[in-house]
Symmetry: C3
Subunit: 273 residues, 3 copies
Amino acid sequence: MLGNCLENVREKSPLVHNITNYVTVNDVANALLACGGSPIMSDEPCDVEDITSICGGLNINIGTLNKNSIEGMFIAGKKSNELGHVVLLDPVGAGASKLRTDTAIKLMNEIKFDIIRGNISEIKTLSLGYGTTKGVDADEADTVTKENLDKMIDFAKGFSKKTSSIIAITGAIDLVADSEKCYVIYNGVPQMSRITGTGCQLSSVATAFAIANPLDKLKAVAAAVCMMGLAGEIGYKNLKVGEGNSTLRNRIIDAIYNMDADSLNKGAKYEVR
Amino acid sequence: MLGNCLENVREKSPLVHNITNYVTVNDVANALLACGGSPIMSDEPCDVEDITSICGGLNINIGTLNKNSIEGMFIAGKKSNELGHVVLLDPVGAGASKLRTDTAIKLMNEIKFDIIRGNISEIKTLSLGYGTTKGVDADEADTVTKENLDKMIDFAKGFSKKTSSIIAITGAIDLVADSEKCYVIYNGVPQMSRITGTGCQLSSVATAFAIANPLDKLKAVAAAVCMMGLAGEIGYKNLKVGEGNSTLRNRIIDAIYNMDADSLNKGAKYEVR
Amino acid sequence: MLGNCLENVREKSPLVHNITNYVTVNDVANALLACGGSPIMSDEPCDVEDITSICGGLNINIGTLNKNSIEGMFIAGKKSNELGHVVLLDPVGAGASKLRTDTAIKLMNEIKFDIIRGNISEIKTLSLGYGTTKGVDADEADTVTKENLDKMIDFAKGFSKKTSSIIAITGAIDLVADSEKCYVIYNGVPQMSRITGTGCQLSSVATAFAIANPLDKLKAVAAAVCMMGLAGEIGYKNLKVGEGNSTLRNRIIDAIYNMDADSLNKGAKYEVR
C-alpha cells in the first residue's frame, strides 16, 4: 500500500531545495507544503551549496533556465551528490531547444539523479540525445497507450538501467520504473493538461516522497504520482458549473492538503509490471 | 461576429512564446491554456531562437526586464520576424523609467510588431518617445472617456499608421485600431484593476488569437479584448459575499475556460469606428 | 485604534517598489492591491533608481536573490534613503546560507531601514551576525511564546534601538517594536504556515501602511500585522470541507480586500508593552 509513503512525508516534513522555473514556482511551493514537505528556492550559484546542504533533496527543473541558474544547477547537483541527498531532474522542454536538450544531457552526465521525471517526449529526447517536441507538452505520437504499453514499459526499464535512475514518465498513463519493476498508474484526468504546472508540482513532491522513504524510493515516487493524479480526480469532481482550469489548479493542491494514507490507498489505481 | 475567432484558437491551439514578467507569468500561462492556446516561456538569449521557431507567435512583455532578458527579446523578435510569426509588444511601465521607455522604443525600431498592447500612458509614451506614468497603471488624466473618444480614436489610428502595428489601448474603454478602423470596446468591470495581470494575460491571449486568425488580425485582437472584458464581467457577477480580488482572478480565467463562440458573440459590447 | 491606518492606505493608494522573490511575487502584488496600495516590481540595477523614485517606499525581500538583483537592492535602497522614502527589509532565509546572511547584514550596514520584518530565526541571525535556520521557516526552539515573552520583547526593543528600525518579528505571536514600545499581536491561525508567502505579502503591505501613515509608522506596521493575521482568521473560518491551503491563500487576500477600518478595529488582538 502506498499510503504509508505519504504518512512518512507528513511525519518527517522533508525540506526540498528547488531550482525551478518562475512560471509554476508558487504552485510548486504550495503543493509541497500541502503534502507535508517544506520548500526552499534558490538558483544563484553563490547560494545553492549552502541551501542544498540544509535540505534533504534537490529538485532541478529546467523550465526557464538561464546561464546563471544553469551554473547553479550543476553546483547544487554536485554538492547534493556529495552529501548523498535525493536528486531529481525534470527536463522541461528537452527536445524543444538545443540549450534545453544539451543542458539536460550534460546534467545527466555530471550528476547522479535518483529520479528523472518528464513527459514521454522529454524522456525520449534524453534517451536519444536529441529530439523535437511541441513546446513543453508531449507529442501525441509518443503517448503511452494500452496498445504500446509493453513496449513503453520495456523502454522505461531499459532507460532506468542505462541511467541508474528511477524513470517517471507521466501522461494519460504514468510509468514509474527502475530496471526491473514498473508501476503503471491510471490516476488523473485529462483536464489536468489545461493547467500549467502539475508536472512541476509532481517533481517537487516526488523528491519529498523519496527523501521521506529512503528504503523504497521507487514505491515512494509511484505514491507521489498516484497522489497527484488522484488529487486531479478529486479536484475535477469538486468543480462546480462555471469553474474552470484556474479553480481546478487550486482544488488539486487542496486535495493534496486533505489527502491521507487511507484515501490514497483507496484511490490509487495501478498495477506493478 | 467575433466568436469564430475564439473557435479558431480552440481548434488550432497556437503555441505562444512568452518573454514576460515573473509577477503574472503563471496567470498568463493559465489564461492562454483557458482560451485554447499553449504557452512556452523562455527569456535566455541562448534559448529563445529555438523556442520561438517552434511557436506560432511571440509575446514580449517588459514588466520585469533585465539585461539578459532584454537581449533575449531582441533575438527572439528578430527571429520571429524572419519566420513571419505574429509578434506582440506589451510595454509595461514604459514612461515609468528610462530603461523601460528606451527598451520599448528600441524594440519598436528594430522589430516589426503586428500588435502593440498597453494602457494609454504606455502607448502615449511610445508615441512621444518619452513619458511619465504612475508606475504600471495609467494616469487618470490620460484615460479614454466618452468625451475624448473621437480624439483618442484618431490618436490610435494615427499611431497605427506610423508603426504599421495594430494598436490596442486598454482601460475602461478599450480601443483596437489599425490605420483605418477602430473597434471601441465597452466590456469589463472596474474591479479588474484591483487584480494584477489581466493586461499581461490579454497580451498573450491576443497573440494566440492573431496566430489563429491570420486573415483578420485586427478582428482577432478585438475578439481577445472583448473576451477578456467579458470574462471580467462574468467573474465579477459570480463573486459571492466575502470574495475579493484573488477569487476574481481565478474566476476570470475560469470564465475564459468556459467561454464559447456563442457567449462571446452575445456578450461582446463594441462598435466599429 | 488601528483601523484608521488602513483607511489612510485606501485613501492615499501608496505605490510600493518591490524587489522580491519570484516564488510569492504574484500574491505580493494582489495582497498590496487588496489593501489599497499599488505594486511595481523591478530588480534590474539599470531600472531601479527611476522606479523607486516614483514610489513612496521600497520593499526589499531577499527570498530568491541573485548577483544582479542584489546589486539592484543596494542601488534602490540608497536612492530611497536619499529621497526619504520608507524602506523595509525582509531577510528571507538569513541564517540559511552565507550569501543570504551576508547580504542582509551588508544591506543593514549601508542602507537605513525604517522597518525590518522577518521570523525570529532571521531576526536573531541579523542580531548575531550569523545563524542557522531550517530553510525559510523559523526554528521551533526560537519561537516567541507566552513563557519567554518578556525576554523577547526586550530583545525586539534592544534590536530596534541598535538598528534604529522598527522590528517586526512574526510567528504564532507577533512583535512590532521600536526601542520603547512593543505591540504584541495575537492574530492569525497556524494554518497560515502551510501557505507560502504570507510573510512576503505582509512585508509589502507593511511598507504601504508605513508610507500612508508617516506620523506613526510603528502603529502602521502593527496595523498591517494585525490585518494580515485577522485576514488569516477570516480566511480559515470561511474554508469549506475539502478546501485546503491553496484556497486559504485566495481567501486571505480576499479578506484583506474586504477589510475595513471597523472590522480591523474589532478583530485586532494586541496589547502594547
